[in-house]
């Protein structure tokens, strides 16, 4: 039994009601539907706003972060007035402002193996708007194990991927990517970054697919992967098939319950201390400044990208981007005191591991990276 629409709702959705493929019945299906959105960031922002505007009756939001000014370049559901506010609350307020005739449930917690089944239980489908491999495999496995469609979107710089993984009708995420990249193997990981408008496109496409699934119209992206490149505005669709050896949706599954996804991916899925290389391997910014001042010779290596040096720099540092470090190892002298740094400590930790495995011992990681240096030693430069 589909829910009724009142007169205000009929007026609000009149442009939907005029489309034969939606109509009154379709709009009532939307009102009856429930969608869980994992992440209210770049992808989740447009998806949440369009699902709200379209009248999806019940929308769940999972996020555990607060709105930060560096989010606003792309996370358009949040605004400057919401800085410091919980993302799920900032997003809920915006959605209810767009459409008060919907319900928004918020889950201010990371999506984990422990809570995923509980949170997702009462939803028809899940939209994956996450930003890391462990949570993507978790979302996939929850969807496969519970028979829910997973509307997948992912972005990197100028490029996006989109698919609908529905193991009952086609391949799942693990069919396409049986294993995550080993840590540090994601090429140009260190360069990161994303064109702010890109998740707008991909997140909007995710909302489109979710609405199509609810209305049961058109051809969903099941068994297909969209590759979108904003630089040449190319959209390519490739065909995917169920992998007969898939560990979760194949005929002989070995994954039959949720696992430890951080261990599976070898990387943390949620916030953790990425600024430190571990006991004994760090040097504090103030200590580095003190040593420099007292004339102790230190080889300072900046492992960021050249464009980042335009933002902030430490005098005397040599630039060797992390990706070029393996081939430049021969230019470093293991007898020298070496200090490595990046933006906030993650890349320099990987650089340190590389040097240590090559036999270097007199090497340290600048804890917290140049951002910590700027905060503690040289506030004349910007944090980014």
């Amino acid at each position: 039994m589909l829910p009724e629409l009142n007169h205000e709702e009929i007026m609000r959705y009149s442009r939907h009601l005029l489309i034969p493929e939606v109509g009154l019945e379709g709009q009532r299906k939307l009102k009856a539907a429930s969608v869980l959105l994992i992440g209210t960031g770049g992808l989740g922002s447009p998806a949440a706003m369009y699902l709200a505007a379209a009248g999806v009756g019940r929308i769940g939001l999972v996020d555990y972060d607060v709105v930060d000014s560096s989010n606003l370049q792309r996370q358009v559901i949040h605004g400057s007035s919401g800085l410091g506010v919980l993302k799920v609350e900032s997003a809920r307020d915006r959605m209810l402002d767009i459409n008060p005739y919907i319900q928004v449930e918020v889950y201010n917690e990371p999506f984990t193996s422990e809570n995923a089944m509980r949170i997702s239980e009462s939803y028809d489908l899940i939209i994956d708007g996450t930003d890391n491999f462990p949570t993507r495999y978790l979302v996939n496995d929850v969807c496969v194990l519970t028979g829910k469609p997973n509307v997948y979107g992912s972005i990197f710089r100028f490029e996006g991927q989109l698919s609908v993984f529905d193991a009952k009708r086609g391949p799942c995420y693990r069919c396409l990517f049986p294993e995550p990249p080993p840590p540090g193997m994601v090429p140009s990981c260190a360069e990161g970054g994303v064109l702010g408008v890109l998740p707008g496109t991909v997140g909007t496409l995710q909302a489109t697919e979710a609405i199509k699934l609810i209305l049961e119209i058109g051809e969903p992206m099941i068994g297909k992967l969209l590759l979108y490149d904003a630089l040449d505005l190319s959209f390519q669709i490739v065909k995917l098939r169920k992998n007969p050896n898939c560990k979760i949706c194949g005929p002989n599954p070995t994954v039959t319950e949720l696992i430890d996804y951080e261990a599976f991916c070898g990387v943390p899925g949620h916030d953790h201390d990425e600024s430190s290389a571990g006991e004994g391997w760090d040097i504090e910014p103030t200590e580095l400044a003190r040593r420099q001042k007292s004339g102790i010779p230190i080889r300072l290596i900046d492992v960021r990208e050249p464009n980042e040096v335009e933002i902030s720099r430490i005098p005397g540092a040599d630039l060797i981007p992390l990706g070029q470090l393996p081939e430049k190892l021969a230019t470093l002298d293991s007898a020298e005191e070496i200090v490595l740094f990046c933006r906030s400590g993650g890349r320099s930790t990987r650089a340190l591991q590389l040097l240590v495995s090559a036999g270097f011992r007199k090497v340290k990681n600048l804890r917290g990276g140049i951002n910590a240096w700027v905060r503690e030693v040289d506030p004349s430069q910007p944090v980014y």
């Binding site: 992808l43 792309r74 972005i155 990197f156 995550p180 490149d229």
Partner: protein
């Protein structure tokens, strides 16, 4: 002559280009030509045993080569190949921990 399109995360290893023209009668030969021209790509595409890595997909036109004849799949003039690695980006860390 086939054209191979390469996804953004792998472009630094082919001098930032998005597409390269390659020679070869099979997918394997085309990929070998790619590695010959851009040796830095090898560890990102193949494991030490020489197998295509599990987080990289290779499509010939719109078909996964694993659903064709794998690396032995014949490649015709003007065929297009695309290399698709997994990307994780979405919101906070945009794909991979860029700190």
């Amino acid at each position: 002559m086939a054209v191979l399109r390469i996804s953004t995360p792998l472009r630094p290893y082919i001098n930032g280009k998005s597409e390269v023209e390659l020679q070869g009668e099979t997918v394997l030969e085309v990929v070998e030509d790619l590695i010959l021209q851009y040796p830095a790509l090898r560890p990102h595409l193949f494991s030490s045993e020489g197998k295509l890595r599990a987080f990289v997909n290779l499509f010939l036109n719109d078909q996964d080569v694993r659903n064709l004849q794998g690396m032995e799949t014949p490649v015709k003039e003007n065929d297009r190949l695309v290399l698709v690695p997994s990307i994780a980006g979405g919101s906070r860390r945009d794909g991979c921990f860029p700190n």
